[in-house]
Each structure stands twice: as C-alpha cells, then as structure tokens.
Symmetry: C2
Subunit: 396 residues, 2 copies
C-alpha cells in the first residue's frame, strides 16, 4: 500500500520547533532558557509517595478500576472550593471536567465548538499549544496583538466587527510566551467589548498561582460569568507528569464536553486523580506554591537584572509579575534565528519567536526566555553570553 | 449569551445508553451482566503499590516531570518484545505510541485519517467506543455483518467495490460485544480481499490475551504487514484505571499520530507509565493473565451452561473462546428493550443491542451479556431470571 490519504486537518498543524530545540538543549553544558518546564527540584516527591501508599491501602481496587468521564468528584470539589476561596468565583463541581492536562481541555473544547473555517481570536504572540489545537480543527486565526497591559482593545473591536469568531483565547496572567498580565482596567474593557457577541472567552490560567509581585487580578468570569470558559492545571503548582488539568464550562457546553471526553479516552487516569486529591488533603498546597513563587521570583528578578546589565539598551523586554517566561524584542534588523545559532555556539539556548505566531514570520526579531529551571548565578552567566551574541549581531 | 453554536461533529455522536444503564446497575441487589469492566478482585494491588514505591524512590523527580509524546521507551520496548515473543510479530518501539487507553489510539487515528464523509467499514454489531469516535469525525459508516467465524467476506467485497473506505475496523479476538473470533481461514480471506485497496485494516485487540479455550490465531499483521494498524491495551490484563494503551503504525502514519498526540494532551501520564513498567519488570504478567483467564473461563462456561438450561431453544447465542462478553439473539418478535424492563424488575441488568449498531434499530432483538464480574453461582441465578423474563415475553 502507498502512503495513506491523511485527513486535511493534520496537514495544517505546525511541527513543534520547540521539540527540535529541546533536543539541542539536553547537552549538559548548555544553559537552557528554552524549555517550559517547572523546576523539578520543587516537586513534592515524598508527600506524593505517602499519598500513593494511602490510596493503595484505602482504595486500591476502586482506584485501579474504570471510572467516570467527569473525573473524581472530591477532586472537582477541591477545585470548586479553591475557586471560591482564592478567586471569589462560584463554580459547581458539576461544571468542572477533569482532563489530561489543560491541553486536553482545549482540544475537547475546540472539538465541540469549531467547524472547519470558523474564526478564532488569539493573542499575538500566543500559546503554541493553542495554535496547534486550533490548527487541527482548521480554524481561521485572527491574531490580536498583545500590548503591555493585555490585548489591543481597538484591534479586538475591529476583529469582532469584521469576523464572527466563536472563541477568544487568552492567557491573562503571566502569559506563555510573553509574560504579560492583563490589567484590571483592560479586563473590564475587553469584557464590555465582547459582551453581546456570540464569542466565548477562554481564560487559560496555568500560571495564575505563580505571582511573585503585586496583587491577584479578578478573572474574566467575574465580568462575563456565562460567556467565559476557564482552563486550569495542576502541572505548574503540583506535578506535571500526572497530566491533570480541568475545564470549567456552563451546563450546555459541559454536556458536549463529557461526550467528547468519553469518545477521546473514556476518562482521565483515576489512580493519579485520587493520589493527587490525597496529596491535596494531607498537605498545604498554598505553602507549597509559596515556595515555588519564591524560587521563580528570585530567578525572574535575576534574569531582568542581568538583561538590564548585559543587553544593549534598544532591546525591549517584558518584566513579568509571575509565571515562568519573559519575552524579548530585538531591534528590527536583528534576526532571532541568527541569534539562536550564535547563542548555541556559546552553549545558551532559547526559543525564537516563530512558533508563537499563527503564520510564518520571516526574520523574526522576538524570542522567549524561561527562568524557572536555571539558578540565579547561571542565569547571569547565560544572559551575559546572550548579550555578547546580540552585540556581535549588531556589529558593536 | 445564548447557547453557543456547536461544531457539527458533536451533534452526530450517540449518547452513551450504557452510561444510563450502569446507573441502574449500581443497585447492590442488581445482578449486572451490563458492565464491561475487568474483575477488580484480580487487580495486582500489592504488586502495583510496590512498583509505585520503587518509582518514587529511584526516579521520583523524573517520573513527575513533563515527558515525551511518544511514551516511556522501556515500556514501548516491553510491548515490542511481547509482540515478538507471543505473536511472532516484528514491531519496532519507534512504531509504538503510548496512548490514554486504546480508545485514544482510535481517536488519534481517526483524527489524522478521516475527513468528513469518508467511508469507514465496521463490524456489525460493532464496538460502541469505535462508533462514537468515528461519529465525532463524521465518517460514513458501512457496516459489515459479523458471522460466527468473522466478517461476512461477500459483504466486505461488495462494500470495497461500492465505497472508498479509508479504514476497516475489526476486533478479531473475542469481540466486544459479540464474543466472536475470526477463524484463521477467514483472516487469510479478508487479508486477500483488502490487499490492493487503499484501506487500512485496524486490528483492535484488547481481549486477545484472555483466551481460555483453543489456540491463538495469527494477527492480521502477519498477512498485511504494511496495511494493518494494531491497537493494544493494558486495561484488561493489568489495570484499567491507569488508562495505558498503545497504537502500532507504520512510520508515515506514526509521524502524524505523534503530532496529533502532542496537540491532544502533550503526552500520557509518565508516572503511571513508569509504574506499570516497574510492575511488568518485577512480576510475571503471563502468570497473572493465566489467573484472569481461569476465572473468566469458569464464569463464561457457567453462563453458557445456564443459558442452555434456562433460555428457550430458539434463542441464539455465541460461545466465545475468550474475552468478557457473549451475544444473544432473541426470536425476531421479542424486543430486547422490553426484555430489559422485565429483567430490571427481576433485578437483572444487561445491555440491549442498540448502541452496537451504527444506525437506530427499532424493536432490536439482540443483547450483550458480560460475565467477567459475576461469580458462577450468581450467573446461574441471573440467567435463570432472564430466562423466565424471555419466556414471559414469548407468552410461554
């Protein structure tokens, strides 16, 4: 048989450039700002082991059997309670579906909402995983530029008048890749703009707990309670390897999500759902998150200080209030792909901006830096080398 | 906002009637032949707990971090070696993708192969989970009747001449729902028929290890090495709650499957992949499977004997050589939905045949019985009650 005829949808999906980069970054000599991984030294290994033994001893058989598609109810109740306590949001456990990471939440949502060619509004630069998912469902991207305080409201208004977008995808807190956070004012403004349109606002919030400066800003769901879908994840606060995330949606959407979940994989691993719930019951998640925030905050500040010291003054960069990333804009004539080659020779890796756009960009001059996995001293060394490479490209 | 406009694909997905039935079946008085669950009393709880502690102690941080989309390499090597040892099949670990149950393998395959309206050949009666997945991708079903020795070859030939199916979906060993196994002769015949057509044969084999009578029959991959895709699962042999299955595909298809997997959920839970691999390394899976086979075999034989004793002689039923199910065909005038109502009153549950067809069937006279979770004595009691109910409907 010759090669099979593939579905049209798969031909449009961008290959992950990051996967290729990460292969380079495994060299132990390499200082890598390329990844997007949580810091493994902060994983609560011992506590999770204790929780695992608890589950085996108290619920062994049940924790290993097939389970329901919605997800483990006590875990959904924990998530609902935390929304109430931390964000003042009233969410019923019935409106929470446990997914294999928030990535699956996004996949299921796209699956039940998007027909081929449907318009999707997305931040520019935007989250790579979202671009991949929406590409699979062959949506038409309408990118809206991110300003320092969130989406460009004027561009959003124009887009809503010109297109009929079914979804607006946002990462309002410490966005990947930009590190940008939407201001309170901007959130109000955007909510007022999209209210009345048949556009669902997707608030993806994997990093929201990792704020190391300033105060939490209310969720879009406060301003658009019926028009907002929330995506959440334990990957950045507890453990990524379990692939446990969730999606919060109104009843009518939740019904369809559950059907799609069932067809996709029946249900999320019930053993690790129970294990995670046991861990959350026996330990103080908030105290654990404070530890992560402290480390990432120190490293984020170290990166910003190093950039100020070592990068030419016409390089623009974001100064995030939390999360794991910052975003660098080089002078227009400097290609971040060329910088990548020079940096790799100096054993420093990062991700050039390309994969965060919904279309091919030539001579891209932006890049993403990650600071969650490199200690402060090494950050200074790596940023200094990167500064040298930029200066070499600028001909200074 | 009013209800959102959903994607066309989700409107076509049948709701799971089984989910509703299982809600009835939780009543502890109920004798349930309705489920499709492995017997939880056979789960290797202690051995899995030991393996879990091993993983936490030897690989804690790595087992909790993000991982690759392909799946844990030692686990893929184990699967490859087992194909060689048990089935004489040469499969490279590079052609194995670990998925969240084999259900996800099917979803990813459909996603990369099927455009809307593409034809899919499927057994009738066929696996409900496959019908759901193919419905999501809006394929056109071409059902091929199952005879006692496998697919109706004549109907298959006609279908291949009349349609351009991209996939032929089969469960050749102890099928769900029918319990039917394809004979060696039938496998050769089917392979000869579809060779030369651009149709991929999907061999879904979740029950293949659970043979309690006769000899293993070679996989379709022996006869159609480049045209066969294999789906496998640890759910029926080790543990369902971990959701660990796999798909075996040629290089060109595997490349696309990995892209689709990445967009769907990045990767399968790495902690439980490692836990399962540790369990498989430290224990004898084949000895464990022998235990399952012995129990299911006893229960399957008990069900067949009870049916012979208690059902009217014009009721037809399959006599499976393995697996968890058998399939009953009532006299044409007897509705299995009506039987269901009478049976529930007698505290016996089963699944009427409807969800295993790709179109609505009125006055269906078929039904599925599961024997993996009920002991022999209870099987006799339940089948006797079901026999009474059938006789009542027949007016005897």
């Amino acid at each position: 048989m010759n090669n099979p005829a593939f579905a049209d949808r798969i031909s449009d999906v961008p290959k992950s450039f990051i996967r290729e980069i990460l292969k380079v970054a495994v060299n132990p000599e390499m200082i890598s700002f390329a990844g997007g991984l949580p810091n493994r030294d902060l994983f609560p290994v011992k506590e999770l082991q204790n929780a695992s033994n608890q589950v085996f001893e108290t619920a062994g058989k049940e924790a290993l059997q097939y389970s329901n598609s919605e997800g483990y109810l006590p875990l959904r109740e924990f998530i609902a309670k935390r929304y109430a306590d931390k964000a003042g949001l009233k969410v019923s456990p019935d409106n929470i579906l446990i997914t294999c990471g928030s990535q699956q939440g996004l996949d299921l949502l796209a699956k039940i909402i998007l027909n081929e060619g449907d318009d999707v509004l997305i931040e520019e630069p935007g989250y790579l995983g979202a671009i991949q998912v929406f590409s699979v469902y062959r949506s038409t991207f309408v990118p809206i530029p991110l300003l320092d305080d969130g989406l460009d409201a004027k561009a959003l208004t124009t887009a809503l008048q010109s297109y009929r977008p079914k979804l607006l995808y946002t990462v309002p807190n410490f966005s990947n890749p930009s590190g940008i956070t939407y201001s309170l004012e901007k959130r109000r403004e955007i909510a007022a703009i999209i209210e009345g349109y048949a556009t669902i606002l997707v608030e993806d919030n994997p990093y929201g707990d990792l704020r190391y400066r300033g105060e939490d800003i209310p969720s879009f769901k406060h301003f658009l309670p019926e028009q907002t879908i929330l995506l959440g994840s334990f990957s950045k606060t507890a453990v990524p390897g379990f692939r446990i995330g969730w999606i919060v949606a109104p009843d009518a959407i939740m019904d369809k999500l559950i059907v799609a979940k069932q067809a996709a994989d029946l249900h999320t691993n019930i053993f690790t759902q129970r294990l995670l719930y046991q861990y959350l019951s026996d330990n103080d998640l908030e105290a654990h998150i404070r530890k992560i925030r402290e480390v990432y905050g120190r490293q984020g500040r170290a990166m910003i200080e190093s950039i100020r010291k070592h990068f030419p003054s016409d390089v623009h960069f974001t100064t995030p209030d939390g999360g794991m990333f910052l975003w660098v804009t080089l002078p227009p004539q400097v290609s971040s792909m060329k910088l990548f080659d020079l940096a790799i020779k100096r054993n420093v890796a990062f991700v050039p901006g390309n994969p965060f756009y919904t279309y091919p960009v030539e001579n891209i001059n932006t890049l993403r830096l990650n600071f969650s996995c490199v200690d402060e001293k090494t950050i200074e060394v790596g940023i200094a080398k990167l500064g040298e490479a930029i200066k070499e490209l600028l001909g200074n």
